[in-house]
């Protein structure tokens, strides 16, 4: 207990003397960054787990793009499981002059098997209506329920009639909440729910309609497990069996990626904070030397000193971690509000797990980073009291850094979730740090050379870099790392987004119409003529499934890549054309001549060919409505998908597909004021689906914006941590600076000269850090734009200048704040205290 009480006394004393503050602050930052991200992802995780079966609407879901076989129903009945069916498809819904694309869900009487539907009689101004209640049945035949968003868009209320396909149906309730509709991010159109029995009478389901047929089952866990095994064994092509664990796989995988990315982003801050902790522990240890020498002199045993130091480490870890967890909890609220609606509408409160990980991180970093240096105080000889040259800690053995490196690596692997990604991240971090340190080292050497032969306080300031080369490199590297991520984000979010938008001309298509039947083409073309749309093309589309490549039946399970498997499993939209679309670019092979029309040729999109491992000369077999069609890959094209024009992965020459049932697709730019003409078209042909790409793009941009905000938010921790490194390095050299400045003043330097020398040193550090950060960030941004986004990169001079100016002002300002205290004291007083 004596050790604890002495440790507490020491902790308090060091705190009030300011020796512990930077170390403590850096620790708090590290824990805050980790727990903020931890709390946030935990909230999303627990939502997924809790809502697993609610998201499915049952315990097991079988889905397909084609009607499901009756055997699923019969087997479920045989096993006495409850079951129901649903259909989901997009369609236009019309009310008077207004029309809106809706995500229609037609449900069977038992829906949902798990969870509930919440309805009300009117749309609330904000949130869910007070009068909302759990529905005891699905919409009665002949009536529909609409989401508040759809009601607002169409300006309708309960009791109004809606045109749904060929039917006019009254709205009988507002659908406030549907458990099985968890992902806000992935459903752009608002929901309309109707009775499954009404679907045929609407005439909405025609050839080519994108319908998702679902069969839901619920029952005892063991029964479900057995049924699931049976269903998986009997599932046909394109039929997927999902249980609770696979609920919303797209959300799960998006979240997994978001969790990894946010976690690794937070790591930048954590690593910088750890560097700051190490730097801050140096003066702390240095200033403690006399204390422990004195304690040894007064009779303290080595064991007691060890206990005091260990308690001090644990106390600092405990208090820093607790505060970090608290701040992390507050910070995650910001993160959740920035990014929360991307994923789920309502997030539950986070659990305690992030607190545990935050505490663990706090203690581990204190023990791994600070303790090895602090523990050396146990070796301070009592004789130091008489001979101050004894027992100093000037050199650091490389193995004292080893535990810190292990902890950092462990955390990176943990956040990455896989050995490969973890190793890659460590490699990138190390390489980046090495490059930055090399640049910083080269920069300060250049500066010193530049200063040779020049006199005055400038030289004195630059000489400061020379006297503390290691510290200067640490300061430049730490600060530039934080600055770099912010510049990179500014570049990626601003420049790249702008470049992407600028690549779209003002008359880029803003509407798609899909599901056009052959007999409706003339009507659609007439609409184009009336609306003055001249450059719209109507493309045919036949749906076919790839079943064999070079006479070998396609085995989708051999694709390791999830995306490749999905691409191979789903039905292709096959089209035909005499000429290649103008925005396509031929990469391999050649386009067919007129003489080759009718020949078994195929042109593939490059990315698809790469993903599925297809190449020029391969023979592919498609199953189109039960008929085999064999074609040879004769060309590979590059397609600019973001031009917003209708494009196809697979195109054949005319004369091959015309006899198969086809639907048509078109994209066009709808001039302002022509919405009514489009609405009239939709009313005439109720099966048409109009997709407003402008709104879609707006939403995509919104998502990108929110994502980058969330990431920026996490990276702000990095900047703070970078500043903490800078400040810690300043504090670490403070005593030395005070000594130098005092001697300079005793020898006749004015206060102004001393200030100028200090400011010069830090301005150099600031400029170097800004240069290094701009260089590194621009290189990374160039790589991202050139190789990942495929858009031309332009160096942003304004941002570079801004970074340069702000860093070369901010850093010396921070330094001046640190120096101010001792500059105001007379040299005699300082000499006395030295």
């Amino acid at each position: 207990m004596m050790a604890l009480s002495l440790a507490w006394r020491q902790f308090r004393s060091h705190w009030s003397a300011g020796d512990l503050r930077v170390l403590f602050l850096a620790l708090v930052l590290a824990v805050t960054a980790t727990t903020a991200v931890g709390f946030f992802t935990d909230r999303i995780d627990s939502t997924l787990v809790r809502q697993g079966s609610l998201l499915l609407g049952g315990d097991l879901l079988i889905s397909s793009g084609k009607p499901l076989s009756d055997s699923y129903q019969q087997e479920a009945q045989r096993r006495q499981l409850s079951s129901t069916q649903t259909m989901e498809f997009p369609s236009m819904v019309v009310r008077g002059e207004r029309s809106q694309l809706a995500e229609i869900k037609a449900v069977g009487a038992e829906f949902p098997l798990r969870g509930e539907l919440v309805i009300s009689n009117q749309v609330a101004a904000v949130g869910v209506s007070d009068a909302a209640r759990a529905a005891d049945a699905i919409p009665s035949p002949g009536s529909v329920w609409v989401e508040p968003r759809l009601a607002t868009l169409l300006d309708v209320k309960v009791g109004n009639l809606l045109e749904v396909g060929e039917r006019q149906m009254p709205i009988s309730a507002i659908l406030e909440r549907e458990a099985s509709r968890g992902g806000d991010m992935f459903s752009f159109a608002p929901r309309l729910m109707m009775n499954l029995a009404d679907v045929p009478s609407t005439g909405l389901i025609q050839y080519g309609s994108r319908v998702k047929y679902q069969f839901l089952v619920a029952g005892e866990a063991e029964q479900i497990r057995q049924y699931s095994a049976w269903a998986q064994a009997n599932a046909g092509k394109g039929e997927r069996v999902q249980d609770v664990s696979a609920a919303r796989p797209e959300i799960r995988s998006a979240l997994e990626k978001a969790r990894q990315f946010l976690g690794l982003s937070a790591m930048v801050g954590v690593i910088l904070a750890i560097v700051a902790m190490f730097l801050a522990s140096l003066p702390y240890v240095q200033r403690s030397l006399d204390t422990y020498a004195l304690m040894r002199c007064f009779g303290a045993s080595r064991k007691l000193i060890m206990q005091i130091l260990l308690w001090q480490t644990l106390l600092t870890g405990l208090l820093g971690s607790l505060l970090g967890c608290l701040l992390g909890y507050l910070a995650q609220a910001g993160l959740a509000s920035l990014a929360g609606s991307l994923f789920l509408e309502t997030l539950p409160q986070p659990g305690w797990w992030p607190v545990l990980t935050g505490m663990l991180l706090g203690f581990l970093t204190m023990l791994a980073v600070v303790w090895p240096h602090l523990a050396r105080l146990t070796d301070v000889p009592a004789l130091r009291i008489l001979r101050r040259d004894l027992g100093g800690i000037d050199r650091h053995h490389w193995f004292s850094f080893f535990p810190g490196v292990v902890v950092i690596s462990g955390m990176i692997y943990w956040h990455a979730g896989s050995f490969r990604l973890g190793s890659a991240t460590i490699l990138v971090f190390s390489a980046l740090l090495l490059v930055i340190a090399l640049l910083a080292w080269a920069g300060q050497h250049l500066l010193q050379r530049f200063s040779d032969g020049r006199g005055g306080v400038w030289k004195l300031g630059i000489a400061g870099l020379k006297r503390r080369p290691g510290m200067a490199v640490a300061q430049v590297a730490g600060f530039s790392m934080g600055l770099m991520v912010l510049i990179l984000l500014a570049l990626v979010r601003g420049d790249l987004l702008n470049n992407w938008q600028a690549s779209l001309p003002p008359d880029a298509p803003n509407r798609f119409i899909i599901n056009i039947q052959p007999h409706q083409i003339e009507g659609v073309k007439a609409f184009f003529a009336n609306a003055g749309i001249s450059n719209a093309e109507v493309f045919p589309m036949v749906r076919g499934r790839l079943i064999a490549v070079n006479d070998t039946p396609l085995d989708t399970s051999k694709y390791v890549d999830e995306r490749a498997r999905r691409l191979a499993e789903r039905e292709f939209n096959l089209s035909w054309a005499a000429d290649m679309q103008a925005d396509n670019q031929m990469l391999e092979g050649r386009w067919w001549t007129e003489a080759e029309h009718g020949q078994s040729q195929l042109s593939l999109e490059q990315d698809l060919a790469d993903t599925l491992g297809l190449k020029l000369g391969d023979w592919l077999v498609y199953d189109i409505a039960g008929t085999r069609l064999e074609v040879e890959v004769t060309s590979i094209r590059k397609v600019e998908w973001d031009t917003m024009r209708a494009n196809f992965f697979a195109v054949m020459p005319p004369g091959l597909l015309e006899n198969f049932p086809a639907s048509y697709i078109t994209s066009f730019h709808l001039p302002l004021g022509n919405d009514q003409a489009l609405n009239a078209l939709v009313r005439e042909y109720t099966n048409l689906t109009v997709i407003d790409v402008a709104a879609l793009m707006e939403q995509v941009r919104g998502i990108m914006d929110k994502m980058t905000h969330a990431i920026e938010y996490v990276f702000v921790f990095s900047l703070f941590a970078g500043l903490a490194v800078l400040y810690a390095a300043l504090v670490a050299t403070r005593d030395e600076r005070v000594r130098e400045a005092t001697l300079l003043r005793v020898l006749g330097a004015s206060r102004r000269q001393v200030v100028l020398a200090g400011l010069t040193e830090f301005a150099c550090i600031g400029v170097l850090a800004a240069l290094v950060a701009t260089l590194a960030a621009s290189s990374l941004a160039w790589y991202v734009s050139a190789f990942i986004l495929n858009i031309p990169y332009q160096f942003n001079l304004l941002l570079a200048v801004l970074a340069l100016i702000s860093a070369s002002l901010l850093v010396p300002f921070a330094a001046w704040l640190g120096m101010r205290g001792f500059l105001d004291q007379p040299p005699r007083q300082l000499l006395h205290s030295m």
Binding site: S13, A17, F298, G299, S301
Partner: protein, 223 residues
């Protein structure tokens, strides 16, 4: 007892064949010029350092054969220290500084003992002041209170007035000798101030590591 150190490959003799006995309650001054080995001798006598050869006995215990922890234990139980540069911990208040050695030896009555000691040196009003809030003389008084608070049998003082002006130095010496007389503590004082040395019963002159002169002096009447 001998003390040699090796510097840049050359062996230097700091203390050369010393033989010294200090009796209980005695006041001994070690005088000599800078670099004569005074502080080294003090360090050896106090068990802060070990001799190269020979031994040091405190109350019959050979401390030079003990390990660092063993010597620390003896220091904690039997010794008090007053240093030229006060050696107060800047992060502790006057009271906390005085309490420190008491706490280190596990005394439950550390606080009342420390308060009483500070009261004896006239600093009862300055208990919660930090060293930087005290004058040099006051800081040394705190150091003296700290040295006497555990009731040591030997007090080692290393140039106790070296950092003080003459008048303050005189006050500190009066206080030190006064308390020493009251407690009957053995005093080993390192100084190059002959006037101060003259107030001790014995004076040991160290010159180039040798104890070249040992003189009995009359006990000062001003103790």
């Amino acid at each position: 007892m001998n003390k040699h150190v090796t510097s840049s490959g050359t062996s230097l003799t700091i203390l050369d064949d010393l033989d010294l006995a200090v009796h209980h309650g005695e006041r001994v001054a070690i005088v000599g010029r800078s670099g004569s080995g005074k502080s080294t001798l003090l360090g050896l006598l106090a068990g802060l350092d070990n001799p190269s050869s020979g031994k040091v006995l405190i109350d019959g215990t050979e401390i030079s054969s003990l390990d660092e922890d063993g010597r620390a234990e003896v220091r904690g139980r039997k010794m008090g220290f007053v240093f030229q540069s006060f050696q107060l911990l800047p992060s502790l208040t006057a009271l906390e500084n005085v309490m420190l050695p008491l706490q280190l030896v596990g005394r439950d009555d550390a606080r009342p003992l420390a308060e009483a000691a500070l009261s004896r040196v006239g600093l009862e009003q300055r208990l919660s002041h930090y060293p930087k809030q005290l004058s040099g003389g006051e800081q040394q008084r705190v150091a003296i209170a700290r040295a006497f608070a555990p009731g040591p049998s030997i007090l080692f003082a290393d140039e106790p007035t070296g950092n003080l002006d003459a008048a303050t130095g005189q006050q500190i010496i009066d206080l030190l000798f006064g308390l020493n007389a009251q407690a009957g503590t053995t005093l080993v004082l390192v100084t190059h101030d002959n006037a101060l040395a003259a107030r001790c019963q014995r004076r040991l002159l160290l010159c180039q590591g040798k104890l070249v002169e040992e003189a009995d002096v009359a006990e000062s009447a001003t103790s």
